[in-house]
C-alpha cells in the first residue's frame, strides 16, 4: 500500500510543483520573454522576424534548390506551410531542452544562495519557448487561413497535442538540466544530438520518403507523432491517428514523471557541485 501511495505521489508531484509555483513560474516566463528583446531596438518584432527568416531559408533550400515537393498541391507555397507547421513544435522542443540543460548552471547564484524550488528553472525555459511558439503559430494560422484550405474545427485538438508536447519536453528538460550539472559534457553532446534528431524527424521531408526498412526509427520518435499531429489538425483538418496519440500521451506523461523524479532525486546535490 505504502509503495503504491509513494508511486502515486511521484506521479502527481510534477503536476503539483507547476501548480503550486505558478506565480513564480509566470514571473520568470514574463521576465524571460521581455529579457529577449528588452535591449534590442526592434523589440518584440524579432519574435516574428526570426521564424519567418528561417522559414524563407528552408523553403528556398529544400523547395527551390532541392525541389522537394510535398503538401496538398505540391507548390512552393504549400511546402512552406507544411515545413513551417513541422518546424514550430520542433523549435520549441529544441529550445526548451537546450536551455534547460544550461539553466541550472547559469542560475547558480540562485541555487547556492536562495531557498528556491529549482524545478521551476527548467519549467520556465520550456514554457517560455512554448509561449514564443504561439507567435509562430499565429503566423502559420494566418497563412493557412489565407493561402491554404482555411482553418478547420480540428484545431480544437491542437491544445491537446501541445500539452503532450509540453509534458514530453518538460521531462527531457528536467533530466538534462540535472545531468548537465554533474556532467558538463551533456551540453556539448546535446547540440549534435538535436541536429541528428531534427533530421530524423520528418520536418523537411514527408514521412513517406523515409525508406520502409527505417520506418521504425519514426515510430520510436515522440517528436514524429507531435509533428504529424500538428499537420493533421492544422493542415489536413483531420483527427490525428488515435493509436499514435495514445502512444504519445503515454510517452509524454512517462517522460514528465520520470524527468521530474530524476531531477528531484538529484537536486539536493546541485549546490555541492556548482
Amino acid at each position: 500500500m505504502a509503495a503504491i501511495a509513494t508511486f502515486a505521489r511521484s506521479l502527481i508531484a510534477p503536476f503539483r510543483i507547476l501548480v503550486v509555483h505558478r506565480t513564480t513560474i509566470e514571473a520568470f516566463v514574463r521576465r524571460d520573454i521581455r529579457g529577449r528583446y528588452v535591449t534590442s531596438v526592434m523589440g518584440l518584432s524579432w519574435a516574428i522576424i526570426q521564424p519567418l527568416a528561417l522559414l524563407l531559408l528552408y523553403t528556398f533550400v529544400f523547395s527551390y534548390i532541392l525541389k522537394i515537393r510535398f503538401g496538398a498541391n505540391g507548390t512552393t507555397g504549400s511546402f512552406a506551410l507544411y515545413l513551417f507547421c513541422g518546424m514550430l513544435p520542433w523549435l520549441a522542443f529544441a529550445e526548451g531542452v537546450t536551455r534547460s540543460a544550461s539553466v541550472i548552471v547559469e542560475q547558480a547564484p540562485l541555487i547556492k544562495k536562495v531557498v528556491f524550488p529549482s524545478e521551476i528553472l527548467p519549467a520556465y525555459v520550456v514554457l517560455s519557448a512554448l509561449v514564443m511558439e504561439f507567435v509562430g503559430l499565429a503566423i502559420l494560422l494566418v497563412g493557412v487561413g489565407l493561402f491554404y484550405r482555411g482553418l478547420g474545427w480540428t484545431l480544437v485538438l491542437l491544445p491537446v497535442v501541445m500539452v503532450f508536447q509540453f509534458l514530453f519536453t518538460m521531462g527531457v528538460g528536467w533530466m538534462l538540466a540535472s545531468l548537465n550539472v554533474f556532467l558538463r559534457d551533456v551540453g556539448q553532446v546535446l547540440g549534435l544530438g538535436l541536429t541528428l534528431w531534427m533530421f530524423l524527424t520528418p520536418i523537411f521531408y514527408p514521412a513517406e520518403l523515409m525508406p520502409a526498412r527505417y520506418g521504425w526509427v519514426l515510430y520510436l520518435n515522440p517528436m514524429y507523432y507531435v509533428v504529424q499531429a500538428y499537420r493533421d489538425v492544422i493542415l489536413e483538418q483531420r483527427f490525428p491517428i488515435a493509436p499514435q496519440m495514445l502512444v504519445l500521451a503515454a510517452v509524454a506523461t512517462a517522460s514528465f514523471v520520470l524527468g521530474h523524479w530524476f531531477f528531484r532525486r538529484s537536486k539536493h546535490a546541485f549546490v555541492d557541485v556548482l
Binding site: T23, T24, A27, R31, R34, G35, V38, T39, Q107, P109, L110, I111, K112, K113, V114, V115, F116, F182, L183, R184, H268, A269, V271, D272, V273
Partner: protein, 427 residues
C-alpha cells in the same frame, strides 16, 4: 510558536572532492562499490537551538564553516548527517542581489526577488515604496540595474532583501557594505526586526557588529562549535583563539627569546608568548624589557574588545636587567593608518617611576577612556632612559591590538575621537 525557532541536531556536512570531473561519473557508475573521492568535512556534529525572537551571531575565521552552517540552516545545503528543523518562514540574505538581472529596472528586480523568495508579487509591489526610500536611489528605481553604481546596487539589493517579512532571517556578512550611514540604517532595521520578535541568525567575522547585535554568539572553528553563549564570553574566546594563532605563527618565524622569568611582585607577570609575538616589532637596548601589555576593564578584568568610551586600564609590565636611576614609560594608541590618536608618558603626567635595580620590576597602569571611532587600534609602548635622549630600553609597536565597538545605542561617531562637550542654543 514553540520554544525553539531553529533546531540544529548533530549536523555534519562532508563535501566530496574529486580530482577530476570524470571520477564523479565513474563513481556513480560503480554505484558506491568504488570510491574516487576524498571527503572534506565542512561541519562536524553541530548541535544548538535558537529560541524564537533571539538573535544568534555566528563568528569564525574564513573557511571555518560558518557560511556552510548558514546554508544548511537555510535549507540550501543538505547536511550529510543530522537534521535541521525550522519553525516558521525562513528568509535568507546570503548574497545581495542574487537573481538580479542587470537589464531590468530596479523595481522589476525587486518584485522578481520577492517572487523568487516565495512572496506574492502584490505583496512585494506594496513594499516597493518602503524599499525605495530605504535604498535612497530616487528615480533610479525605474532605470535598468546595470546603470547603477555598485553602491546603489548593494543598497537596493539589501533594502529589498531586508523588507521581507520572515519569521527567521538569515544574514551572511551582507552588512559589511555601503557607507557608514547606510550600515547604520541597516543595523536600525535589524533592531526593528528584533523588536518585532523575529529570529535572526547573523554570520560575520566582525566581532564588533556581532557583539552589538546579538543576544547569543556561536564560535565555530574548523567545522566545530568552540563556544556558544553570552556574546562577550564567546568574543573573548574568539580573540584568545586568534591570539593563539598569532603566537603559533610567531613561533614559526621567530627565534624564541629566553629571558629568565623572575617574579618579584604579585602584580607583575612575564608573558612568554608576548615576547614571541612582538619579536618583530621591538627595538631598544634591552637593559630593561616590557614583558607584557594588558588591556583591562575598569575592574581590572581582561578585555578583548572595548565598548565605545569605556574606561579601560592599559597595564604595562616591565623588568629591569640593569640599574635604572630614571626611566619614562609611554604609550600610543594608533589607528589602522598608523596615526597616533592618543598617548602620553609618565614624565608628562608627572608620575615618576622610582629608581629600579637590576632584577626588579615595575607595573604601570594607565587608566583612561576610549572615546574613539569604532574600529581596530594598536598600542605602542616604549620605555625611555630619560627625557633628553632618544634612546630606549625597549620600544614595541603593535604590543596589543584591540577593537573599539560601536556605541550600543546606535549613535554614529563621525570623527576619530569624540570629546565630551556641552551644547547651548540661544534662540
Amino acid at each position: 510558536m514553540s520554544g525553539v525557532a531553529v533546531d540544529v541536531e548533530a549536523v555534519s556536512k562532508a563535501y566530496r572532492i574529486y580530482a577530476h570531473p570524470r571520477h564523479r561519473l565513474l563513481e556513480a557508475l560503480w554505484r558506491g562499490r568504488r570510491q574516487y573521492h576524498r571527503e572534506f568535512w565542512a561541519l562536524r556534529n553541530i548541535t544548538f537551538q535558537i529560541r524564537p525572537g533571539s538573535t544568534l551571531g555566528i563568528i569564525g575565521m574564513n573557511g571555518s564553516g560558518k557560511s556552510t552552517l548558514l546554508q544548511v540552516i537555510a535549507g540550501i545545503v543538505q547536511p550529510t548527517d543530522g537534521r535541521v528543523t525550522a519553525h516558521g518562514r525562513i528568509a535568507s540574505l546570503l548574497e545581495l542581489g542574487a537573481g538580479f538581472n542587470p537589464e531590468f529596472t530596479g523595481r522589476e528586480n525587486v518584485v522578481m526577488q520577492g517572487t523568487i523568495m516565495g512572496f506574492p508579487p502584490e505583496e512585494t509591489r506594496a513594499r516597493v515604496p518602503a524599499i525605495e526610500a530605504f535604498a535612497e536611489i530616487g528615480d533610479f528605481i525605474d532605470q535598468p540595474v546595470k546603470t547603477y553604481s555598485s553602491g546603489m546596487f548593494v543598497r537596493l539589493a539589501f533594502a529589498a532583501a531586508i523588507h521581507v517579512d520572515p519569521d527567521v532571517l538569515l544574514v551572511d556578512e551582507a552588512l559589511a557594505v555601503g557607507d557608514a550611514i547606510f550600515q547604520h540604517r541597516c543595523i536600525r532595521r535589524i533592531r526593528e526586526l528584533q523588536d518585532q520578535g523575529k529570529t535572526i541568525v547573523f554570520v560575520s567575522h566582525d566581532i564588533g557588529t556581532v557583539k552589538a547585535l546579538c543576544s547569543e554568539v556561536l564560535f565555530i572553528d574548523a567545522g566545530e562549535v568552540r563556544g556558544i553563549g553570552d556574546p562577550s564570553d564567546v568574543a573573548n574566546l574568539y580573540h584568545a583563539h586568534i591570539a593563539g594563532l598569532e603566537t603559533k605563527r610567531a613561533e614559526l618565524t621567530e627565534p624564541v627569546l629566553s629571558i629568565p622569568v623572575t617574579p618579584t611582585s604579585s602584580v607583575f607577570r612575564a608573558n612568554p608568548t608576548f615576547d614571541q609575538r612582538v619579536g618583530l616589532f621591538r627595538h631598544g637596548t634591552g637593559a630593561a624589557r616590557i614583558r607584557d601589555v594588558e588591556l583591562l576593564d575598569e575592574q581590572l578584568r581582561p578585555l578583548a574588545a572595548a565598548d565605545f568610551n569605556q574606561e579601560i586600564v592599559l597595564r604595562v609590565h616591565v623588568e629591569f636587567y640593569q640599574d635604572a636611576p630614571t626611566c619614562i614609560l609611554g604609550y600610543f594608541v594608533r589607528d589602522k593608518t598608523g596615526t597616533n590618536v592618543i598617548g602620553t608618558n609618565t614624565y608628562e603626567e608627572n608620575t615618576a617611576i622610582p629608581p629600579r635595580k637590576s632584577g626588579e620590576t615595575v607595573v604601570v597602569d594607565f587608566r583612561y577612556r576610549l572615546p574613539l571611532m569604532p574600529g581596530t587600534y594598536s598600542v605602542t609602548t616604549a620605555l625611555a632612559y630619560n627625557r633628553y635622549s632618544a634612546t630606549y630600553f625597549d620600544w614595541i609597536d603593535n604590543a596589543l591590538v584591540f577593537e573599539v565597538l560601536p556605541p550600543p545605542d546606535g549613535r554614529i561617531i563621525h570623527s576619530k575621537v569624540w570629546l565630551p562637550l556641552q551644547i547651548t542654543t540661544h534662540a
